[in-house]
Symmetry: D2
Subunit: 258 residues, 4 copies
């Protein structure tokens, strides 16, 4: 059965890729686009563009709404879609707890799935889950994340999240030699719950992370390289398929993987 998909936010960088991905996938039919303007109607190869979600749903009857718009718009979209029986797949964060509760209630009332994924990269989610599992057996962990030098903050959100996930698994302890001494400050990286995190910033790099887990006589390395934003597309495809089988609110791709 072909799944009918609508996309909100088709003009952004992620949105453009998503339009292309849905169009070329034979298991999906791209029925409509939601945008804040209607001008260039040909953005999605003659896919009809709407500025009202209600109108889009009534005229095109999608099964799933893939929402790649900004946080301020996305809550309203999700509530409307659910009300109409359309399953939202949302690629943003920034919901308040209150908003999440409202979405969860609506999901329960309508008995259809809704998926919110801060990170649509299947590879990154697998890396984090594997690191969490491995740390049960090899609890000495360091994380090296590497990004282009236009990135301002360090460590990356993914590195911090990885450390937090590992921390749920292992007993906290201070790694390294107890008398460890930094000849130059910062050499041993950031310390999150005894784990050390290192942030490399270089021109040319895209988005890379490796988790190193050391044990007597061995090293296990789990590395994810994201070369461009098409890496998010397989996660969106998986989410659309999966949300058709679900009837709860799912937060994070990790809930439907493994």
């Amino acid at each position: 059965m072909v799944i009918k998909v609508a996309i909100a936010g088709p003009r952004g960088r992620m949105g453009k890729e998503a339009v292309a991905t849905i169009i070329k996938n034979e298991e999906f039919l791209l029925v409509g686009l939601l945008d804040h303007k209607k001008e260039e109607e040909n953005v999605g190869n003659n896919i009809p563009i709407f500025t009202s979600l209600e109108e889009l749903i009534e005229q095109t009857e999608p099964d799933v709404l893939v929402d790649l718009t900004i946080p301020t718009a996305v809550f309203g979209h999700a509530m409307t879609a659910l009300q109409y029986g359309v399953r939202p797949v949302i690629g943003t964060t920034g919901f308040t707890d209150l908003q999440l509760d409202e979405i969860r209630q609506k999901v329960e009332e309508k008995q259809i799935g809704c998926l919110i994924a801060p990170n649509f990269s299947i590879g990154a989610v697998l890396m984090m889950k594997f690191a969490q599992t491995a740390a049960k057996y090899l609890p000495d962990v360091e994380i090296i994340e590497m990004h282009h030098d236009r990135k301002v903050d360090a460590p990356s959100g993914t590195a911090i999240k990885t450390a937090q996930m590992i921390q749920d698994t292992r007993n906290p302890f201070e790694q390294g030699h107890p008398d460890e001494e930094e000849i130059f400050a910062g050499a041993r990286g950031a310390n999150i719950e005894g784990m050390h995190i290192h942030s490399v910033r270089l021109p040319g790099l895209v988005a890379h992370q490796q988790v190193l887990l050391g044990g007597e006589g061995q090293l296990l390395t789990i590395r994810h390289d994201s070369f461009d934003r098409t890496s998010f597309m397989s996660g969106i495809v998986l989410s659309i398929h999966e949300i058709m089988k679900q009837n709860t609110l799912i937060y994070g791709l990790e809930e439907i993987i493994l």
Copy 2:
């Protein structure tokens, strides 16, 4: 509660490491050693040496027998140990199906655990399991295994086993470009069920393997480096703890991990 451990084969390379590991672990008490000769009685820091397993068990009453001897001896040891209610942890392969059946029957009769592990390296087992799981989502896989140049056979047993485990998960397909052409024969490596495996042999290397899983715009790499045989010790320690809680025949460390 301290677990009483006996070791068969204490003079081999693995055996020596195991003796040292058990002695320094406070949760274990090394009560006896089984060897084919009794000469250098001080091999294990005054641990008594026996040439008869029955005698060893009767005099020292171990909870667990760690068996690191050769395949020909190990079946008899396992049956004797089980008969006396001692749980075997066996680091070898080469059992016939008939022998495995006999062990399984004895295990059921005695209702105590028995563990056979062809590979005691926790990191290597985690790598294989993670690769198997990841291939569900990223089915394009290549394996690069790297060993010292005194290794005769290629690919390594671990690489072949990894490919077989992945093959259980994914639908078989031929990877790479359909018109792929080798300008120099062998460039694309060995082809196992459509997966490509590459064997690097260089002086200096020890034992390393990486599994590369590619998807649109991304690469997930799971790598294990084994620097020396102490890497097997954490697997032996884990097995001893775990076998005390089991009452079946367990084949492969992967059964008690994750």
Copy 3:
């Protein structure tokens, strides 16, 4: 002093990047573009477009002609440019020996530099040179090159060239164990002069190569990752600067590096 640059082939993928690179570099002035059609005159931000190289040179008086067109056109361009005293920087291969001789004669006659570079990637050239040098001291070498799975031929041209450069340095010998045995054919890769080369092809990959040099107790790895074609731009910039100081025919970026 600002260097006046003309670009032949501004509409191709490399050409577009080159136009952008030259425009934003303050040490260069992009004076004209050579194309086979004049239509979209605004291709280069109001840079004048010519279909005749002579006309371009007479009207814009460039110091350097960067030629990114196809092999069939490039020889004529080079001879014309040299005749007018314009230094060619050529990013293609495929000259016959006879053509190279003619260019060399013209270069000598005019006493100005001309640079032909099959590979403008500084990183790749450094990798090859370093591998060549290192192989003098660590002669056991294996090469792993990794590309997207739309690449048909294996090994890559860069891998073959690297092997040839190393071969010039070291005494040829068969690496690996003399009794080496492939359980699955191809495991040990392609054999070029005793060196083993492995070609990985996966979706997501771009263009990557690592040269591994092993010695007793150690491994030296020289790796180059090319993430997109902007990686060629720094080589073009370097070539333009360098060719202004030269008065010979230079073949290969390696001649002006190190």
Copy 4:
């Protein structure tokens, strides 16, 4: 011609390896050992042991003295050896400038070579030299060094030396985003002349370093793995051969490599 070699400090960890290396190399003849005690005369397979360097030289007439003793002893050994016309190959640091001057004078007087190498690892020296050269073209550099977690100081001496060598090549500048912000302190590592250095410490690791050089669209990585101390032996062998051809004081393996 076979080179006659004596070794000072044959009982240390490096010394034992050196004895084995010299004995099995057919181009060398191990003629004598210098030690502080004469007891276990069989340390070097019946190689005569001396407690006096003068006596050793007079009785065994070595061409080269490989000195692997402690800094306090080594200056005296070097001066004595040179006085007798024996070429010292010294694997230690810690000479005062005054001592170096004295050695240099004696070398000039005697017109024979003397080599002092703080690091006998050919691979590590190649890594440092290549990094230095590459930074001319790709000046954005980060260093990741990784050692076992029994190492107290960070960064490693090799990492600091690498940064200093690169600093001699490139114009100093602050790498990364000008508004860079550490959410957790230390994430961006130690800052040496604008370069960032990261020190990983994990059980299982031995001694590893990678130098990452980023440019637009590309990354060049130079990595050295030292798996055990046999990695120093090829440097000692090279030094013995090389010092026979020299008649000056050579400081650092890098002087005779490349």
